[in-house]
């Protein structure tokens, strides 16, 4: 019985891909896909990304759709949403499926940084390079925070909160306001590469420029419950600034212990933990924490979208959902500014045109400000704002 699983799976898949050979315009849709995390760890991020896309799709379709080859067509993500379950090999396989069997124009995702690095790694690295056997498919990521993702391939784009761009302006202002700050300690999640990557390429140079010495860097473990020794050590070192680069639970646990032992540095700055969960679990201990965000829920347009999002997803929208919402609109703009034919035969050509159009994004109206594609890498430059936790809420900070 088991002997037949593999051959029949292959036959089934071959049949499925054979059925995709009719013109897309006849369907009245533009094909876009999504590699998401629908089950397993990371599903809370996956939910944000998926629903950000869904809310945008509903809005766009209700307003008539996307204009392609002179006609209005709709977005229909549903048949092309796949679950990688945060498995790298799956993500790679699914990307190839979307590119070659499903023949989508573009893909959103993957959700986690690890998957993103591998998936971007199998894309073509130089346009027009005939030796390079990488995939030629525009992929837009809206949730991976690891730096350098926008430089990996001309086909890989990112509309995410890329802190390396936002921090250069915001952080010095905050430091000046809270200063003088001479020393900093860093706490990050040791089992992920996000923290070390941020430290090495973003925070390290920034702090050095500000003349701040990093006196300690600790990678805590995923399941760590007891932070007493860590905070004990930090109290001895007594840095002026504490930098947290991790998920919200590490932040909450660190701050609770800090409150318990009376560790109160002049500035607590965080990355990667803008979510209601931080406030829910940290409560009074996280008051005064500061971070940079590209999403401000109080801006009218953002608030409207957030309401629809809450209905669709059942949870509050955060910047991942916001970035994904913007991303579909970005794609729409790129589609409409290129001369696509949207047929099964023109897929490769259409993708190339789309890639070029995405590179040209300038002055695009995002949720809280204008968005430009960076001149040399494929990351969008967005408006950033500094937020602080005040009275159990994220509040915009002004110096």
């Amino acid at each position: 019985m088991r002997k037949w699983i593999l051959p029949s799976a292959i036959v089934a898949m071959a049949l499925a891909s054979a059925g995709a050979a009719h013109a897309f315009m006849d369907e009245g849709t533009v094909r876009v896909g999504h590699i998401g995390i629908l089950t397993g760890p990371g599903v809370d991020y996956g939910t944000q990304v998926l629903n950000g896309l869904k809310v945008a799709q509903d809005e766009i379709n209700q307003a008539g759709g996307v204009t392609v080859a002179g006609k209005k067509v709709k977005f229909d993500l549903a048949p092309y949403v796949y679950d990688s379950a945060r498995n790298v090999a799956q993500a790679i396989a699914l990307t190839r499926k979307l590119a070659l069997s499903d023949k989508v124009l573009a893909v959103f995702g993957p959700v986690s940084s690890n998957e993103a690095v591998s998936v971007f790694g199998v894309l073509q690295r130089k346009l027009g390079d005939s030796v390079d056997t990488g995939l030629q498919l525009p992929i837009m990521n809206t949730s991976a925070m690891r730096d350098g993702l926008g430089e990996m391939s001309p086909w890989a784009f990112r509309n995410a909160t890329v802190e390396q761009f936002l921090l250069a302006e915001s952080l010095p202002k905050v430091i000046a306001a809270r200063g003088p700050i001479k020393t900093a300690s860093v706490v990050y999640l040791g089992s992920e590469d996000y923290g070390p990557a941020m430290l090495k390429s973003v925070y390290g140079p920034l702090l050095e420029k500000q003349g701040i010495q990093v006196v300690s860097a600790d990678g805590v473990h995923e399941g760590d419950r007891d932070y007493s020794a860590l905070i004990g050590k930090l109290m001895r070192l007594n840095p002026d600034m504490l930098i947290l680069l991790a998920r919200y639970d590490v932040g909450a646990k660190t701050m609770i212990e800090a409150k318990r032992q009376g560790f109160t540095p002049k500035l607590v700055w965080a990355s990667g933990m803008i979510s209601q969960e931080l406030i829910k679990t940290g409560r009074a201990a996280v008051e005064g924490m500061m971070m940079v965000s590209s999403y401000d829920a109080t801006v009218p347009r953002a608030a409207e979208v957030a309401k629809k999002f809450k209905v669709a997803a059942g949870v509050e929208m955060n910047e991942f959902g916001a970035n994904s919402y913007e991303a579909l609109y970005l794609l729409k703009a790129a589609i409409e500014s290129s001369d696509l034919r949207n047929t099964a035969e023109s897929v490769e050509e259409d993708r190339r045109k789309l890639q070029a159009a995405l590179r040209q994004i300038k002055g695009f109206p995002g949720l809280i400000g204008n968005i430009d594609m960076h001149p040399s890498v494929n990351d969008t430059i967005k408006q950033g704002l500094v937020v602080t936790i005040r009275n159990g809420q994220f509040d915009v900070w002004k110096p």
Binding site: P41, G42, V43, D44, G190, S216, A217, D218, G219, V220, H221, E222, G223, D224, R225, D226, Y227, S228, A229, L230, G232, K233, R236, Y248, D249, A252, K253, I256, K259, R260, E277, K280, T281, R283
Partner: protein, 292 residues
């Protein structure tokens, strides 16, 4: 110097939770030579059952803890009955695999209910602490110490003074002889399992109240710690597990206090390997023939 002492004190007190985990492990392994890899998830289950009772039904902590222990005792008996009893006598890997299966199922069920997010376990004494001889003793740790000591003493009493306890020791020596003497091996096995899981549940609750925040990842982390503890302390030795747990807590605390956190695993596992090579029976384990 007082900084070092403080870290040692904290580590030792927190290490009592590891001790409880190790004791529960050893009860099952030492007595029945069976490994229960679902134990980690049982600990997690205990923490979350108590959490749910406290957060959603406003149950007082003590009651919630006891209820969690009872519930996990039942879970333990189910696991024993379905995953271990049917394969007694099969090759040594069989119980490893079935209990891994059980742990996967248990974890999934709790993830479905509680998702993978972090939950707050509110307690009144979260920030309470007292000063003793210039050192700070935090109340949650005090509770851990108190509860653990009580349980360990009670367990010791049970094993050495009660009839059931003595029967269990007889089983550990020689199962067949015990059976011949009229001891109901099946019933006692279930009982020991239930007891071990109840202990695990309480360990889970203690961990939850001292760290304020729990998630469903607690299980796998505790399983790994459990391994280290029983190897350090000695397979089958209950006082050994107690010692091993406290020792591990101290090693972890002191390592993090003086070195970057990344080295903590290096020391825990390094210690483990050295122990295995130099003295595989652990600090207090029974001598076991190594050459098969």
């Amino acid at each position: 110097m007082s900084f070092l002492l403080q870290q040692i004190l904290n580590g030792a007190m927190y290490g009592c939770t590891y001790a409880l985990v190790g004791i529960g492990f050893n009860l099952v392994f030492g007595v029945m030579n069976m490994i229960n890899l679902a134990y980690g998830e049982v600990i997690m289950a205990g923490a979350f059952i108590a959490l749910a009772l406290v957060v959603f039904l406003d149950t007082p902590l003590l009651l919630a803890g006891l209820a969690a222990a009872a519930a996990c005792a039942v879970i333990g008996m189910i696991v024993e009955w379905t995953c271990l009893r049917p394969i007694r006598g099969a090759h040594y890997m069989a119980p490893l695999l079935t209990t891994i299966g059980a742990s996967i199922i248990l974890l999934e069920i709790f993830i479905k209910i509680f998702s993978t997010e972090e939950w707050l376990f509110p307690t009144a004494f979260e920030f309470s602490q007292i000063k003793v001889a210039g050192l700070t003793v935090r109340v949650p740790y005090l509770i851990i110490l108190g509860v653990s000591l009580t349980l360990m003493i009670a367990l010791h009493f049970w094993i050495t003074r009660t009839q059931n306890g003595r029967a269990v020791r007889a089983m550990a020596e020689n199962v067949d002889a015990a059976r011949l003497m009229g001891i109901n091996v099946d019933a006692l096995t279930s009982l020991t399992f239930a007891l071990a899981c109840a202990l695990g549940a309480i360990a889970g609750v203690l961990i939850a109240i001292s760290s304020s925040i729990v998630s469903t990842t607690l299980g796998s982390e505790m399983l790994l710690k459990g391994f280290v503890v029983i190897v350090l302390g000695g397979l089958g030795s209950i006082p050994g597990a107690a010692l091993g747990g406290v020792l591990l807590g101290i090693v972890e605390g002191v390592t993090v206090a003086y070195l970057p956190s990344l080295y903590r695993d290096f020391f825990s596992f390094g210690l483990l390997m050295i122990m295995l090579m130099a003295r595989p029976t652990g600090l207090m384990g029974k001598r076991i023939a190594e050459r098969a």
